[in-house]
Amino acid sequence: MAEAIVTDKLSKSYGKFLALDSLDMEVRVGEVYGFLGPNGAGKTTTIRLLLDVLRPSGGSARVLGLDPKNDNVELLRRIGYLPGDFVVDGRQSPRQYLTYLGNLRGGVAALAVETLADRLSLDLDLQIGSLSKGNRQKVGLVQAFMHEPELLVLDEPTSGLDPLMAREFLALVDEAREAGQTVFMSSHILSEVQHVADRAAIIREGKLVAVDEVEELRARAMRRVQVTFDRDVPGDAFASIDGVTDVVVQENTLHCRLVGNADGLVKAASRFTVVDFISEEPDLEELFFHYYEGDDHVA
């Protein structure tokens, strides 16, 4: 079995609204796969279909070679799942809750829970209700990782985590890959998955728009850049730089769009005195828009 997840025209509709439209996707065993898309694109719907929380309106999925509905328990035993909106009864401690979930999984070593909690700086003995959103998210992460599942399905795993913890989480993902586990994680931010994912898919309005190596996606990603100088700059100074388009210069500020390597732009800007340099997160909406428009627009 070379694929951890295979979907065949997987679809889900609610009345007339098509939440997921004929998704064909393959996730290889052992890879870290980013599942990217803006909010409401169908990421959570897809994930819930893979776990049999939702039932498809059409098409099918195989996960770890199993049918999500008919082999449900066998499949769920081998998966660690973090829901996009992880909700727990607050009147218990993480330790109690994780012990319970561990028991439902037939027993999980307390040491595994302790180790994960330590790494994520999660206090296992406070009431969950008193924890911040980020700390609750850590409880969700611990329960997903604690039984060292073959497949990790993580829906927006870094939501609520501070940058330090997000980095620790990415280290966990890296180690999971090294241990041979497959990781399928969704996000609406490219930079969140670009450091760990091997490949990524981009989904929009229920349709798969692109699947590629993350490096390739990043090279094509377009971001808005704003550079402020200490005095007015001439507009034509930034006219023909590789990857830079839509140049607008207003007095001492440059607005433009940048695709790929920032070197040309930085070198052009360095001829003046740079006061501020703001590069926004690549916008996924624009990323696949350009992806579709083809190379002529990009190059």
């Binding site: 819930r48 939702l54 039932r55 328990v73 829901p83 992880f86 909700v87 979930l101 439902l104 329960q143």
Partner: protein, 264 residues
Amino acid sequence: MLRDVWTKTLWDQRRALLGWLIGFVAVAMMYAGFFQFAATPEYQELIDSMPAGLVEGFGWDDISSPAGYLGSTVYGLLGSALIAVMTIGMGAKAIAGSEEDGSLEVLITMPVTRTKVVIDRTVALLLAALGGGVAVFIGVLAVREPADIDISIGLLAAASLGLALLGLLVGAFTIMVGAFVGKRGLVVGAGAAFAVLGFLVNALAPQVEQIAWLENLSPFHWYDATGTLGDGLDWGLTLLTVAVAVAFVAVAVLAFNRRDVRGT
């Protein structure tokens, strides 16, 4: 308590359940203790002055006998209403409530079947209902002698069991509705409607000759606390109560296995 779904369900609700049990004991003691005042000619006169339909509807027609009194108070409207409120609450939480607050998604993505989730939560509800029955039993027993209640311990136990099973039935119905629709408010409403309708049919149908037969459809008629306190449980109707509850749960399992679980 953290080993299984049904134990965890009870554990999570331990404070509320403890409150219910204390409430059941207190209400049973208070009302049963009041019997000595109800078994007086003055009280009987008061009842006699009320409209016959009202008296019959609430089962007050035999209020000066211990069975008639307990059957229309502790085991009557009051007891059934209390146990129904408790099991409707638990039943609504079992699927719909957990679904609406989002915690059900984690549970059904653990390696347990949806069937097990429904059954375990029903078992928790059954144990809570039985606990309610035991609490009522203890409360009545505590005041039985001082209040001059001349009913055997066995008959009190039988009526308490009947009350618990009535609670089970109402709760099972509520779970079943929740298995179809994951909206807690709607499910509570349906459970309450079921209980109120059952009570009204039992109270009012016998007073209108043409629809008197309808009372046979009411779980409150099957329950008949006054009859049980006098002659013991009617095993046929008791079995019917359990069978219908089991049928509700079976439908719940089928329905819940078929549908999407909504997230938050």
